[in-house]
């Protein structure tokens, strides 16, 4: 581990809240509005960190520990992902499994904190969250297994930079299928349209938002920051697959531009389509899993 190897993680910790800003600006552009400032998420976090909090009498220590431990899991997850050709701070064979485990931990903590409120809304969001994530997990891991099969490495920091223009030329269709699957996982896990709508105002239709309804003050700041880190982590997987490798400095800059571009694409998708009916979401997620399997089968070694 060298000092440089911490750079992608530090950049992620600093720049992650920028991504929701880019998404919202893009959506405002499509809607013909000016939209909130790019750095709005930072102001929100700053404001929330200086606020007090109100807790439900039903809640216990689980509700208070959830956001804290959830953010810790998200921060460790960030350390595992590379940015373009620059490896993550921590990497080893099979680190993709740890990444999936940490994301699952973050989710599990959010879910039990939601159930701790004793609210029907919290239960509803939690129930939907666990059902949908059970379907995204195979899509994510099978997709990454396809990349591993293509590059012969089981470490994210080795296999994502190893996907080069040559491998796209050789296995373009397979990698495109995997990229499509990872895009669906990225949108679903970050509660984006077409799976969930972060801007909805009706509790009955929410998934992620309704789980965090009861949190306020620093707890909510931790949750929002954790969510933008998760957006970064999953986005970095997709960008790492698409970005060409190369020189660490130039490649890193290209990858960062790619992250911003991905946020822009997310905004465009949110502007161009409505969310799916809840009953149709499992079909989309199963479809992503099938794409991953197809990608895996098409990669011949």
């Amino acid at each position: 581990m060298t000092v440089e190897s911490f750079l992608p993680s530090v950049l992620a910790l600093v720049a992650a809240p920028l991504l929701p800003g880019v998404v919202n600006r893009t959506k405002a552009f499509f809607a013909g509005r000016r939209g909130p400032p790019l750095l709005q998420a930072y102001s929100d976090l700053w404001k929330l960190l200086r606020k007090g909090a109100v807790y439900s009498r039903t809640t216990s220590w689980v509700f208070r520990a959830g956001p804290v431990a959830g953010l810790a899991a998200a921060i460790v997850a960030v350390a595992l992902v590379p940015l373009g050709p620059v490896p993550g701070a921590l990497s080893f064979q099979g680190d993709l499994l740890l990444l999936a485990g940490l994301l699952a931990l973050q989710r599990f903590l959010a879910v039990i904190a939601a159930l701790d409120t004793g609210s029907a809304f919290g239960g509803m969001g939690a129930s939907r969250e666990v059902a949908f994530s059970a379907l995204t997990e195979p899509a994510l891991l099978l997709g990454l297994a396809a990349v591993a099969r293509e590059t012969g490495s089981l470490s994210l920091s080795e296999m994502l930079p190893a996907v080069s223009l040559a491998s796209w030329a050789l296995h373009g269709p397979a990698l495109a299928l995997v990229a499509a699957a990872l895009l669906v996982v990225f949108l679903a896990e970050n509660s984006r349209i077409p799976v969930d709508d972060p801007n909805t105002h009706l509790e009955l239709t929410m998934i992620h938002e309704v789980m965090v309804l009861e949190h306020g003050g620093p707890d909510l700041a931790f949750i929002l920051y954790g969510a933008s880190l998760k957006l970064w982590t999953l986005g970095a997987l997709l960008v790492g697959l698409l970005a060409p490798g190369g020189d660490p400095v130039a490649g890193g800059i290209v990858a960062f531009a790619g992250m911003v571009g991905l946020a822009g694409i997310t905004g465009a998708i949110e502007s161009a389509m409505a969310r799916l009916r809840l009953l149709d979401v499992p079909r989309l997620l199963t479809g992503a899993g099938v794409l991953s399997v197809l990608g895996l089968l098409l990669v011949r070694r």
């Binding site: 109100v54 804290v68 431990a69 921060i75 080893f92 064979q93 599990f108 129930s127 297994a145 895996l296």
Partner: protein, 654 residues
């Protein structure tokens, strides 16, 4: 070896003492637990010494039963299985002193102690027996002791039914084992394990072992007895049955494979297929349950499936000469055996503590127990997170090894390894997601929110005899998660016992990887602590208020408006409805002033309903046709005996 025999003797003496002292619940508790704890301490020492590298000479004593000998040997594989058997049993015995106390006034405590200790001794003897007859005797002692524990509360009809189902299932399994050992003995010319060899039909022997041992282990579709029997037993016994007894089936399977030599590829495919099926169906059925202990029992089916996936991958690695795949699959499977004993034992003890405090296992009648039973709540949460495979706990470590094996297999260029590897990756990922859903439900609905009934509202924490064993098990789950290198040292000798050939230095490699994962786990804990301090500092000078949960302005919220176990599971039971066939009874509200409405869901086991139910009904009909033979007079039966002897004599002479 004498220490091991002393362990068995102390266990049995404790059991007999408890039986003799049946009159006094206090004395029975004391004698039974003393025998169990001392016996387990002796036995555990033997297991640890063998795993540390000591070579214990085998014990051979003649036995007057034909073909039998009293041949015991503790090799590393046996010692590895002895470790959870003795470890969990000692803790469960301490727990039982608290758990059984309220039964003391109503029932005699002698029999449960006697059969608990007999079960422990039987399990220990199963994994060290080296003669087929001795093995089968130990197997029967274990199975019958378990039967008497399952059927202990025999005044309840569902318990009698569960006991009966278990008894039939276990003996059907034993029938396959008899055939297996007879065939092995015929090839080897002796019933000593060391004489056993594969012979002409190793495939048939493997299938016999898979069915016979798979019935005990609970592979789908041989699992139907498990969700009936395990919840019916008293909770400390449920922990032993689910935590260690079903593992003797896995031990038997692994041991048999060592007789048969290099496995052909299709054994690995079959194991991966069985593992994926058991894993996915087990967790799906678990999600749909409303009974806490039944949910846990179905989860054992899932975990046995995960272990079978590991064994299958290990077998494929062996077949194709991929030493790392073989070692990772087998090591992951064996480590999961130990880990499952820890967290499933913990969860059953936790469920027992809930049952002790509320007298109900119905998840929808519980809620809010985390505040009323804080220690049980924390212990159950650790167990739930561990069984889900979340870092930094022990479930993650063993699933990681199996998963890594699957990834190595899935990225291989040999189709015979790659396809099962992919199947294992997909099913492990799905199982992980579904298990998280299941345990979010089990922990969330039982321990969080508001109590849904008076029993739950009045619940009190259990005494230290019950809490301390749970705390120790939770600590063990965390220790293996944070120091996986130590766990690998325990597994390594057992792996070497099974896999032939030079060991490819897999352990240092695996330890280096797992240490990095554990470093991330430690980092997570440190960060979480730091963030907790930050949160406290931020809130110190700010207003922190308390109010009610947001309810959209509804004026009279009640605890029954919370999400329940069936509503939480509904998206998943709906999605997998074709497999689960959940039955719903809905009384919809009618008219402008509806008087009442209700929804009830129930998910019976489809294999029991559709496969075994009709099959056993047909057998019963067939047997009824022979009723005319049964006249009920003794002299007629004596005539039958005489006639049979005559026919046999004629056959022998002719």
């Amino acid at each position: 070896m004498s220490l091991f025999l002393a362990a068995l003797a102390v266990l049995l003496l404790g059991g007999l003492g408890a039986l003799a002292a049946s009159r006094s619940p206090r004395a029975a508790n004391l004698l039974g637990a003393l025998g169990a704890v001392l016996g387990c301490a002796f036995g555990g020492t033997v297991a640890l010494r063998v795993l540390a590298g000591e070579d214990l000479p085998a014990l051979r004593a003649p036995w007057r039963v034909p073909y039998a000998s009293f041949h015991l040997e503790v090799d590393a594989l046996s010692a590895f299985f002895l470790l959870p058997i003795f470890g969990l049993s000692a803790l469960a015995a301490v727990y039982a002193t608290g758990y059984l106390r309220p039964f003391g006034g109503r029932r005699s405590l002698g029999p449960p102690w006697f059969f608990t200790n007999l079960l422990v001794a039987g399990m220990a003897l199963v994994v060290v027996a080296r003669n087929a007859i001795l093995f089968l005797v130990a197997w029967e002692v274990m199975s019958l002791a378990a039967f008497f524990l399952v059927a202990w509360e025999d005044e309840r009809e569902e318990v009698r039914e569960a006991g009966w189902t278990y008894l039939v299932a276990t003996h059907l399994g034993t029938a396959f084992l008899l055939a297996l050992f007879v065939l092995l003995g015929r090839e080897g010319g002796s019933f000593e394990f060391e004489a056993f060899r594969a012979g002409a039909q190793p495939g048939a022997l493997f299938l016999l072992a898979l069915v016979g041992f798979g019935t005990k282990a609970g592979f789908v579709p041989l699992h139907v007895w498990l969700p009936e029997a395990h919840p019916a037993a008293p909770s400390h016994a449920s922990a032993l049955l689910s935590g260690v007894m079903i593992k003797t089936g896995l031990y038997g399977l692994v041991r048999t494979v060592t007789f048969l030599g290099t496995p052909p590829a299709w054994w690995g495919w079959v194991l991966v297929g069985v593992g994926a099926t058991s894993g996915i169906l087990g967790v799906l059925f678990a999600i749909a349950q409303h009974d806490l202990k039944r949910l846990l029992a179905y989860h054992s089916v899932e975990n046995v499936g995960i272990i079978a996936l590991g064994l299958g991958l290990g077998s494929l690695g062996w077949t194709y000469g991929a030493p790392w795949l073989a070692a990772f699959g087998l090591a992951g499977a064996l480590l999961h055996v130990l880990n499952h004993a820890l967290f499933k034992g913990l969860l059953f003890l936790g469920a027992g503590s809930v049952l002790h405090a509320t007298e109900t296992r119905e998840i929808d009648r519980l809620g809010g127990l985390g505040k009323r039973m804080p220690a049980t709540g924390v212990a159950f949460l650790v167990g739930a997170a561990a069984i889900t495979g979340l870092p930094p706990l022990n479930g993650f470590v063993s699933e990681f090894l199996i998963f890594l094996g699957a990834l190595r297999g899935g990225t291989s260029s040999v189709a015979g390894v790659a396809v099962p590897g992919l199947a294992a990756i997909g099913s492990l990922a799905l199982i992980g997601g579904l298990a998280a859903a299941c345990f979010a439900k089990a922990f969330g609905v039982v321990f969080l929110g508001e109590p849904r009934s008076g029993e739950a509202a009045r619940a009190r924490e259990s005494g230290p005899a019950m809490v301390v064993p749970m705390a120790l098990l939770a600590a063990a789950c965390a220790a293996i998660g944070l120091f996986p290198g130590l766990a690998l040292r325990i597994v390594e000798p057992a792996v070497r016992e099974v896999l032939p050939g030079p060991d490819a230095g897999w352990r240092p490699a695996a330890a280096a990887i797992l240490d990095r994962a554990a470093l991330a786990g430690g980092g997570f804990l440190v960060l979480a602590a730091a963030l907790a301090l930050l949160r406290r500092a931020l809130l110190r000078r700010r207003p922190v208020g308390e109010t009610v949960t947001w309810d959209c302005g509804y004026v009279r919220p009640s605890a029954r408006m919370q999400y329940s176990s069936s509503s939480f599971a509904q998206p998943l039971t709906e999605l997998f409805g074709i497999l689960l066939r959940t039955r719903k009874r809905i009384v919809a509200p009618r008219g402008p002033f509806p008087a009442g409405a209700s929804v009830a869901t129930e998910t019976p086991d489809p294999f029991r309903e559709r496969l075994y139910g009709p099959a056993f009904a047909a057998i019963a009909r067939g047997a009824a046709a022979l009723r005319w033979i049964q006249i009920g007079r003794v002299h007629v039966y004596v005539l039958y005996v005489a006639l049979s002897l005559l026919v046999l004599l004629a056959w022998k002479l002719g």
